[in-house]
């Protein structure tokens, strides 16, 4: 079986675009959550969200007009993060018309909901008005489930498997694990992996109706995303994309690529929506089995984990998540890994969350820091024992193993383990 390493990354998140800016945003605790006047007009209870800033202007710099006419926001985020990732990996971008196909590289780019902005703004109104002809030619490629991976495959002339996975909020992390399996088995030299989610009131409206979005912070957007806090009131909806270049170690060394980290383990499963699990809540046994499965696949023990980048969305599930980690790791609170939530700074990117947070995780490992988890100075009482292991400010570390977990509706779980490259 091949060893698999990470040789490139790209990110466009609510608080930053590009690796250097993202690192600084994480280190400084810079929030990307803003008040959204559109959500106020629409009478949302939650009127704050995480949207990559000025992304439309950026899109005009990245993409030719003929391509941009068929790209909704999720595809734009995928394209920007994907091109950045490709260049960061030191690979040449093919000519958009005549360039050669790279038969050795594929992609698993997930999305949670997909192009619902295009459906809501273009397709539904015209169909209902009996004006199907007026839909034009670009709606299918923007609303098919695989719109994001299809877009990236065309931009970079990818010739391996190019596909989209979707498993709610586990999506981005699951994509990384699927790509890792693919490369371990020798099916390609490189796989781009991650997740993307567009900006859409149609996506967020359903969560608002469920009363799971943050309430009471519309006038203080940067304080609204409060994972692990006693005053957490729901998650802040987010958007963006994070994409990683996974590559066999052999291929990376052959071409002298810079290596950020190794993917040493991973597991995905489902709790079966039993024993406390449901469509919207995790079966604790499923979560524990997922983490243990990831450790077993890496040949690591619970004591080896130095950092946990949690799912930790700012709902009532946060204490349960930490309890599940404690149950699996069996480590005393003072000996617990560092645990933080990137969502405290960027909100919950849904299908993009795992992608953006895997980029944040690998950046932290490779550059020797653990970013402060914002807005949890008033820690949830159930988490008090772990107080010393939840950083409020960024700390320099020599952490070697980071566990990134994501959990999603449908009772699905994903956990990937990264090892610092030394």
């Amino acid at each position: 079986m091949n060893r698999v390493v990470i040789t490139g990354m790209g990110v466009i998140a609510p608080n930053a675009h590009g690796l250097e800016d993202f690192e600084q945003a994480l280190r400084q605790g810079r929030s990307g959550i803003r008040h959204m006047s559109r959500l106020e007009e629409l009478n949302f209870s939650c009127q704050v969200a995480g949207v990559p800033q000025e992304y439309e202007a950026l899109a005009r710099e990245y993409f030719a007009p003929d391509r941009l006419v068929a790209m909704n926001s999720g595809m734009i985020f995928t394209g920007i993060a994907g091109l950045d990732c490709w260049r960061d990996a030191g690979l040449p971008v093919a000519d958009p018309i005549e360039g050669p196909v790279d038969w050795e590289t594929g992609a698993v780019i997930g999305t949670g909901v997909g192009g619902v902005d295009t459906l809501g703004d273009v397709v539904f109104p015209r169909v209902k008005e009996g004006k199907v002809r007026r839909i034009g030619s670009t709606s299918v490629e923007q609303t098919m489930a695989s719109a994001v991976s299809g877009c990236l495959g065309g931009l970079l002339a990818l010739g391996g498997q190019v596909t989209t996975n979707s498993s709610a909020c586990t999506t981005g992390t699951e994509a990384v694990i699927q790509a890792w399996w693919h490369l371990k088995a020798g099916r390609a030299r490189r796989m781009m992996a991650g997740g993307a989610e567009g900006v859409s009131e149609y996506i967020w409206g359903g969560f608002d109706a469920m009363r799971v979005l943050a309430r009471g912070f519309n006038d203080r957007p940067e304080e609204a995303s409060r994972p692990m806090s006693a005053s957490a009131s729901g998650f802040v909806p987010g958007s963006g994309a994070g994409i990683l270049m996974l590559e066999t170690l052999e291929s990376a060394q052959e071409r002298g690529a810079r290596i950020y980290a190794e993917v040493v383990g991973g597991h995905v499963n489902c709790g079966g929506q039993r024993n406390g699990g449901s469509t919207t809540a995790p079966n604790p046994e499923g979560v524990r089995r997922c983490i243990l499965g990831a450790l077993a696949s890496a040949g690591l023990s619970p004591d080896d984990i130095d950092v946990v980048n949690g799912h930790l969305t700012a709902t009532m599930a946060d204490p349960l998540e930490v309890q599940n980690w404690a149950s699996v790791l069996q480590r005393a609170p003072e000996d617990f890994p560092w645990i933080n939530s990137t969502k405290s700074l960027i909100g919950h990117g849904l299908g993009a969350a795992g992608g953006m947070e895997c980029v944040a995780s690998v950046l932290q490992l490779s550059r020797g820091f653990v970013h402060g988890s914002a807005n949890c100075q008033d820690l949830h009482p159930a988490l008090e024992p772990y107080k010393s292991r939840i950083p409020h400010q960024t700390r320099e570390t020599d952490a070697r193993i980071l566990a990134k977990a994501s959990f999603g509706f449908g009772d699905v779980n994903g956990c990937v383990l990264f090892r610092k490259w030394e």
């Binding site: 007009p65 003929d66 006419v69 958009p96 018309i97 002809r133 007026r134 034009g136 030619s137």
Partner: protein, 81 residues
Amino acid sequence: MDQQTALEKVTTIIKPYAKNLAPLEEGNLDARILEDLGVNSARLVDIILAFEDEFEISIDDETADKVRTINDAVRIVSSQA
């Protein structure tokens, strides 16, 4: 509508869809929209819709299928506008 005005409007509409702008810049009326300008064939649908909006005309499918060059487009829109 005079031919020059129609040509300017047609060019403006097609330009965002073209990968190769040279024939438009040279004013080559015989340039083929797909082959020479590099327009994705699916986008002809959007170009025809844009002609309808801009010139306040209706172009049936049979007529739309005959639009192959810049000249074809100018002739069709100016005959109806």
